[in-house]
Symmetry: C2
Subunit: 188 residues, 2 copies
């Protein structure tokens, strides 16, 4: 495992001591580990909508972000829409990209690997005959996602690959996309 260079403490900006403390605390209080994440969407016009997130539940209490965060979404002009914002499927890619990248920073910190830069490109194929209802044998979603990281760090290529693999292993969004998740949609 890579070591910090002499006299230079590793600092990726992740407080792993606090995370290790949380691990110990939640082992003894599993009820506190039950979170509820929430979002509210408002239709704007056409395929344009705005989703906001602010409150969530965790550690046995209602929690709140420092501010309300908003996400606009729309369809592009080649789908006869106004392209006011990213598409919903690109927003999912942003969720995956950010989850894996936070994990890379946290795992590197725990392994005393100093990161200098981390970036990744994501590409997801999709046959739009699915969503357009042209062919019932074509799925609506992605036919697969490829994520390619480029990482500059004080570590060997093997250690860097191991950090990325561990991030993937513990990633919430990777799991949500790779494995089935039950979704119920109702009208109040």
């Amino acid at each position: 495992m890579a070591k910090a260079k002499a006299g230079k403490p590793v600092n990726n900006g992740v407080n792993v001591e606090a995370l290790f403390g949380a691990q110990e605390a939640l082992k003894k209080a599993p009820e506190a580990a039950k979170f509820k994440w929430r979002a509210t969407v408002e239709w704007v016009k056409g395929t344009h909508s705005r989703t906001t997130v602010e409150k969530f539940y965790g550690l046995g209490a209602e929690q709140k972000h420092k501010e309300k965060f908003a996400f606009d979404a729309d369809h592009p002009e080649i789908f006869a829409a106004e392209d006011n914002a990213a598409t919903p499927v690109e927003i999912v890619l942003a969720g995956l990209a950010s989850c894996l990248t936070a994990g890379v920073a946290a795992v590197a910190q725990a392994r005393k690997i100093q990161l200098r830069s981390v970036s990744a490109t994501l590409e997801a194929g999709m046959d739009v005959r699915g969503i357009l209802g042209i062919d019932e044998d074509v799925r609506n979603g992605f036919d697969g996602i490829k994520v390619t990281y480029k990482i500059d760090a004080d570590a060997s290529p093997e250690d860097i690959r191991a950090v990325v693999a561990q991030s993937q292993k513990r990633s919430a969004v990777y799991d949500i996309i790779a494995n089935p998740t039950n979704v119920t949609v109702e009208v109040a």
Copy 2:
């Protein structure tokens, strides 16, 4: 099926005639239906990252949004982070919310139902013992997502429920989350 009120053309801001035209065109040219959606993520610091989307591929050519769209993500303060932005899992909820809502507008337009307002709340449970590696039997992702729509429209409750059901049936993000999607993560 609900009808538009006499003399009042239904206008939800979705050009369904163009979408029906695309359906016909892509039936004859299935290669053009193969899209590639892309995103690029840059690590900022700690668990904070920024994902941008701009270019994609579809209709047999490289395409580009009108502008580059950016999505910041971070972890909250109760995870010992800075809460600079929404969490990656909340961003996934935004993707689902916006996909289903665009579908509601499009299906309603196709069925000549005038929408007045559409909103929904989403809630997703998650046991964070998964991502913290406390219990290997706990999954990393959501244990389920519940979406609840509130829709004011010129249609019966039954017709409104049918619009939502059809949107879910054709939703790319619903499919990505509800069904397994292959994700490969590599280091260049």
